[in-house]
């Protein structure tokens, strides 16, 4: 087992809408003020080993993007800490700032993650230039080198984002992150907005980068198929908490959390037998609002095997290699 690179310890992220002056006066006069805190990430701990790809799967609103941004040092956590090689990714202080360039991020929508008014050569080169990874004289060659790494010609540097297709833009966004020579790449749904044939090209690019550069990745996606293909280990997230974490094959073949099981059952599969009957076992009900998550286990409202204890007592992730956060985990083969 290789060394631990990124360590996430009891990270929580809450978003509280700022209280306006009017509301503050109202509160001061004795009126109850409704504070609607969103618990996007709720006491999450895990680690990423050097050189591995950790998949992070969950439905929309489960907090996976927020968790990715905390690890990438974009949002400071409300509690807990994220470290790389023992050093915090964000500084302390009233306005904490990102302290390291060793974690970079690739975003879902390549139409939004590239500044539309700036030539992509500058987009890729500005970070390395600002952090002294390359001198002013060599920046052109440096940018060309990273463009080549993602399969784009050197002339691309002189063009604007709108002159590229979606797949090409995502390549640019990956080059921008790689040019900082990071140890860890946080990829937030990097193929979700791409067409199937383009998606395959980008997945292959990630596989190639992994082989050639040995980057460690946190790969966030809602797409179970993509995550299975690319990840060594997978974490399943539900309503701000990680409910199951383990080696990819284990999770997909022998899920232990009822939510993981249900999620896997919900995915439409390619049906090629003419008389094959397509049946889903959809999860009952809907995702509860993260404004008022249910007490106890967050999944108990939709869980087929929920008991009285699940309604009051929040389970914790155990420490096994294939760990699960459930009072009544499924037995193998169930």
């Amino acid at each position: 087992m290789s060394a631990m690179l990124v360590d996430v310890v009891s990270v929580s992220k809450r978003f509280t809408p700022s209280v306006s002056v009017g509301e503050r006066i109202a509160a001061w006069l004795g009126s109850p003020v409704e504070t609607r805190t969103v618990h996007a990430v709720d006491d999450v701990s895990f680690h990423i080993r050097k050189g591995e790809v950790l998949g992070l799967v969950g439905e929309s609103g489960c907090g996976k993007s927020t968790l990715g941004r905390v690890i990438a040092g974009i949002h400071p956590p409300s509690a807990g800490r994220a470290t790389i090689d023992g050093l915090p990714v964000m500084g302390e202080g009233r306005k904490p700032l990102k302290t390291t360039t060793r974690i970079q991020m690739v975003f879902q929508d390549p139409f939004a993650s590239l500044d539309p008014r700036i030539r992509i050569g500058e987009t890729i080169g500005e970070g390395p230039l600002a952090h002294g990874l390359v001198g002013k004289a060599d920046v052109h060659a440096y940018v060309a080198q990273w463009l080549a790494a993602v399969g784009l010609p050197a002339e691309a540097a002189d063009r604007f984002p709108h002159q590229f297709s979606g797949g090409q833009r995502q390549r640019v966004a990956i080059a921008r992150a790689l040019a900082m020579q990071p140890d860890v790449l946080v990829c937030d749904e990097p193929v979700a907005s791409l067409d199937v044939s383009i998606q395959a090209q980008i997945i292959n690019l990630f596989l190639k980068l992994r082989r050639e550069l040995d980057v460690t990745m946190l790969f966030i996606s809602h797409d179970l198929g993509v995550v299975r293909h690319i990840s060594d280990r997978v974490a399943i997230m539900y309503l701000g908490r990680i409910v199951e974490l383990g080696p990819t094959a284990e999770i997909y073949d022998r899920p232990r959390h009822p939510y993981t099981r249900a999620l896997l059952d919900s995915v439409p599969k390619l049906v090629t037998g003419s008389d094959e009957l397509v049946t889903f076992k959809p999860i009952q009900g809907e995702l509860p609002s993260p404004l008022s998550p249910p007490p106890g286990c967050h999944f108990h409202l939709r869980c087929p095997s929920a008991q009285a204890r699940c309604r009051t007592d929040a389970p914790r992730l155990d420490a096994a290699a294939h760990s699960v956060s459930c009072h009544f985990p499924l037995a193998a083969g169930e």
Partner: protein, 301 residues
């Protein structure tokens, strides 16, 4: 609806070219822009084309004072728009007055733009208490009429070009700040700013290189309106005697000077500078309307 969602490569002309082509579809705006350019050009070359230097007191002859349009004065040339109470050629005075008005409007508008946009964008970028403080001050200021603020400041700072510009900037930067704050708050939440934060880049670079350039469209709209406003505001202050010194009359002061002769039938001293001022302001506003229609995404078809 996603039809037709095709990336059209051949359309890769610059945003400016697209803007220009669309601008051309409005004949009123094109005509107005022509008027603005013409006025600016005429004002620029005023010393070359005006028959007289109206600021050169030695050249003013008192016997030429208050003559009607068409009068041939002692200088040997025709006063096409008449003369004022000091014997100044009104046409020359208007040309020089336009020069001053446009100059002050542009300088004041430019400084207000830079100051307001920077304040608003930084407030949006940093958020928290700093944002609250800056934006409350700006809201407070916007609740006063600009003219009142400018009047007080002009009275306190005294006469002259720079005090006047300072007064105009103070009265107007808040509009830019609020617009920049709104646009920058939207940009702040976009992924490319998060990408810059994940690099990380310095705050000044994120604001000046990334956020502000993307806030330009609404700021340009405000700028066209505010330049017209600062010209009108300057004219108002000068009319009230709080603007430029009497030796360098701007349009407002020309109107004020002729005002007392209106009832005695010597209309030209006030009316012609007034007409020049109105034409300039209306033309800028017509251009501004078209720019706003084109840059406002809500009005896009």
């Amino acid at each position: 609806m996603s039809a037709p969602p095709v990336p059209v490569k051949a359309l890769a002309d610059t945003p400016f070219a697209r803007f220009r082509d669309e601008f051309k579809t409005s004949p009123v705006a094109v005509a107005a822009l022509g008027v603005v350019v013409l006025i600016c050009f005429v004002a620029l070359i005023a010393p070359l084309i005006s028959p007289q230097n109206p600021y050169d007191l030695a050249r003013l002859v008192l016997s030429d004072a208050r003559r009607p349009p068409g009068y041939v004065g002692s200088g040997g040339f025709t006063h096409w728009l008449g003369t004022d109470a000091q014997g100044r050629d009104v046409l020359s005075a208007i040309l020089y007055g336009l020069r001053i008005s446009i100059q002050i409007g542009l300088i004041a508008g430019g400084i207000a733009f830079a100051l307001g946009a920077t304040l608003g964008a930084f407030a949006a970028y940093f958020g928290g208490r700093l944002e609250a403080l800056i934006m409350r001050i700006i809201d407070l200021q916007l609740s006063f009429p600009a003219i009142l603020l400018a009047l007080v400041l002009a009275a306190v700072l005294g006469q002259g070009k720079w005090p006047l510009i300072a007064a105009l900037v103070t009265a107007q930067y808040a509009y830019f700040a609020r617009t920049a704050h709104g646009a920058a708050s939207t940009e702040r939440s976009k992924d490319y700013v998060d990408a810059a934060l994940s690099t990380p880049l310095a705050a000044s670079r994120v604001v000046f290189r990334h956020i502000l350039p993307n806030c330009l469209p609404p700021l340009i709209v405000v700028a066209t309106v505010q330049i017209a406003n600062s010209i009108a505001l300057e004219a108002t202050l000068s009319f009230l005697g709080l603007g430029l010194p009497i030796t360098e009359p701007s349009l407002g002061m020309l109107i004020a000077n002729g005002f007392q002769y209106m009832l005695s039938g010597r209309y030209w001293i006030s009316i012609y500078p007034g007409v020049a001022l109105i034409v300039l302001i209306v033309a800028i506003n017509l251009v501004g309307d078209q720019v706003r229609d084109q840059l406002n995404p809500r009005l896009k078809r």
